[in-house]
């Protein structure tokens, strides 16, 4: 570029040309990568029957659903005695007023219980899944790899599949949901928390080792204090994710709002469907903001 047009000393000109050449090379390499990714995107569109035209031809149906969102059915969030027997209440479908609150609570409790059970197992396991604590000998390494593999296997199965497994194996109901959420929580929490342990400042551990403390003492007094803020932060995050999972799990009969959502949508009851989504949105917003506020305070 500028190199040839100037009166810089030859050494500098050579340097400038060299760097220019490298930058151009790097740029064409990046262009190649982006081009390759675009081809992948194009192929994906073909394989998934991606068809924006459907958005136009199906627009009347979408507008009807959207209409429901403008006129949500408030009756379903009111307790029975307040809702009265107006025709807005969807008694005619056999789902009484006030049901929404019950199911919303069930979703929250599924998430809470699942977070508790999953994390209870995940927290101790995280320590034996932390590279920096374990890979100090052949036995530790073996345990480390075994635990890591187990965690990966558990995480590779989506929460929804766990839910389906438990619904078929045990029965329809919130208990199946709790089990599915617990297992998912274990997978997520053990990954997040073990990585927090891996990121600790080793100097503090060395200082405690130098006092003659045994490994367990070192973990309790040197590692744990370093990771407690992350423990709380990751617990909150896991809970957030679990609320979402619990919402979805209802759709396969594992309790909670998702169950109602499927019912409403099968009856094409868009106003009630809309009301349910509004409740889910508010729930999520409240949880996300309050956990963000707590995180800010502890980290």
């Amino acid at each position: 570029m500028a190199a040839s047009a100037t009166s810089e000393p030859p050494r500098l000109q050579a340097l400038m040309a060299e760097v220019d050449r490298r930058v151009r090379l790097e740029r064409s390499r990046n262009l190649l990568i982006v081009g390759f990714l675009l081809v992948l995107v194009y192929v994906s569109a073909g394989q998934t029957e991606f068809n924006p035209g459907l958005l136009v031809t199906k627009s009347p149906q979408m507008l009807r659903i959207l209409g429901g969102f403008l006129h949500p059915n408030f009756a379903i969030i009111l307790p029975k005695f307040l809702a009265g027997s107006s025709e807005h209440a969807n008694l005619r479908y056999g789902y009484p007023e006030g049901l929404l609150g019950h199911f919303a609570l069930q979703t929250l409790m599924t998430a809470l219980l699942g977070t508790f059970i999953g994390s209870l197992v995940a927290i101790p396991v995280s320590f034996i899944a932390a590279r920096n604590l374990m890979r100090r000998g052949p036995l530790g390494s073996a345990i480390y790899f075994a635990v890591r593999a187990l965690m990966s296997i558990i995480r590779s199965i989506p929460t929804l599949f766990w839910g389906i497994l438990f619904v078929t194996a045990i029965s329809v109901g919130a208990f199946a949901g709790v089990l599915a959420v617990s297992i998912f929580s274990f997978g997520l929490m053990s990954k997040l928390f073990s990585e927090a342990i891996e990121a600790i400042d080793w100097g503090q551990v060395e200082a405690l080792t130098a006092t003659g403390a045994n490994p367990v003492q070192v973990v309790v007094h040197g590692v744990f204090p370093q990771v407690t803020p992350y423990l709380v932060a990751h617990l909150l995050y896991t809970f957030e994710v679990n609320v979402h999972s619990a919402l979805i799990l209802g759709a396969i009969g594992a309790g909670g709002l998702g169950f109602l959502f499927i019912q409403y949508s099968e009856q094409l009851d868009y106003p009630s469907e809309a009301m349910l989504l509004y409740v889910a949105i508010v729930m999520t917003l409240v949880i996300d903001y309050s956990s963000a506020a707590i995180r800010r305070r502890i980290i």
Partner: protein, 205 residues
């Protein structure tokens, strides 16, 4: 205090003047144009660590660019030339292509000075520029700053804890203690009494 000059921090009281222009009264656009005239170097260098040395120095030209083109990663040829000359001036052009965080502390600070120089400023604010460097490298960096001050006519305002370095390099020393002025004068006139006023009853050295 230095950070109040280019208003990275807002002063709670008082004014900052640069040749009759009241910096503390400027609003966004005018403030950015004023900042262009006042380069800054930092104790922790504050290079964009993952970017190349050349790119870091080129960022010194950002204040001169207008419009949508300036958010693109490429810079005009004239700016590139200025950046190269600044690197050459700091004798670190050899490293132009490498990532900033692969350099030693002293080299990084030289790149930071090159970035400041690329700004073609009237003033360089140096906020503890050698506090993160070993004594030998500190001398090298201070030498560059002195040469830039003498050769390019750029005023260097340097905050520094090390009184020996201050005496060796400064034309004028201003000492502050607990928010108040305790010394303002030539380096040569710093005596035992001034030391005690600056550093309290412990004295110094």
């Amino acid at each position: 205090m230095l950070r109040c000059v280019n208003r990275l921090n807002e002063p709670t009281a008082g004014r900052v003047l640069l040749e009759e222009a009241e910096l503390t009264a400027l609003r966004s656009g005018a403030l950015r144009r004023a900042r262009r005239r006042i380069a800054m170097i930092f104790q922790q260098f504050n290079l964009v660590r993952r970017s190349s040395v050349l790119k870091n120095v080129l960022t010194g030209r950002l204040g001169y660019q207008e419009g949508w083109r300036s958010i693109l990663p490429s810079f005009p040829a004239a700016d590139r030339l200025i950046a190269w000359r600044s690197l050459e001036r700091l004798e670190i052009a050899d490293k132009a292509g490498v990532r900033a965080d692969s350099l030693s502390g002293g080299q990084q600070q030289r790149v930071a000075i090159a970035r400041a120089l690329a700004q073609e400023p009237e003033v360089i604010l140096a906020d503890e520029p050698v506090a993160s460097l070993d004594p030998e490298t500190a001398i090298v960096v201070m030498d560059y700053l002195r040469d830039i001050n003498a050769g390019d006519g750029i005023t260097v305002v340097c905050s520094i804890h090390h009184l020996e370095l201050a005496k060796r390099y400064a034309h004028r020393i201003v000492a502050m203690r607990r928010g108040g002025l305790v010394y303002d004068g030539a380096p040569g006139e710093l005596d035992e009494g001034a030391y005690r006023r600056i550093y309290g009853r412990l004295g110094y050295e």
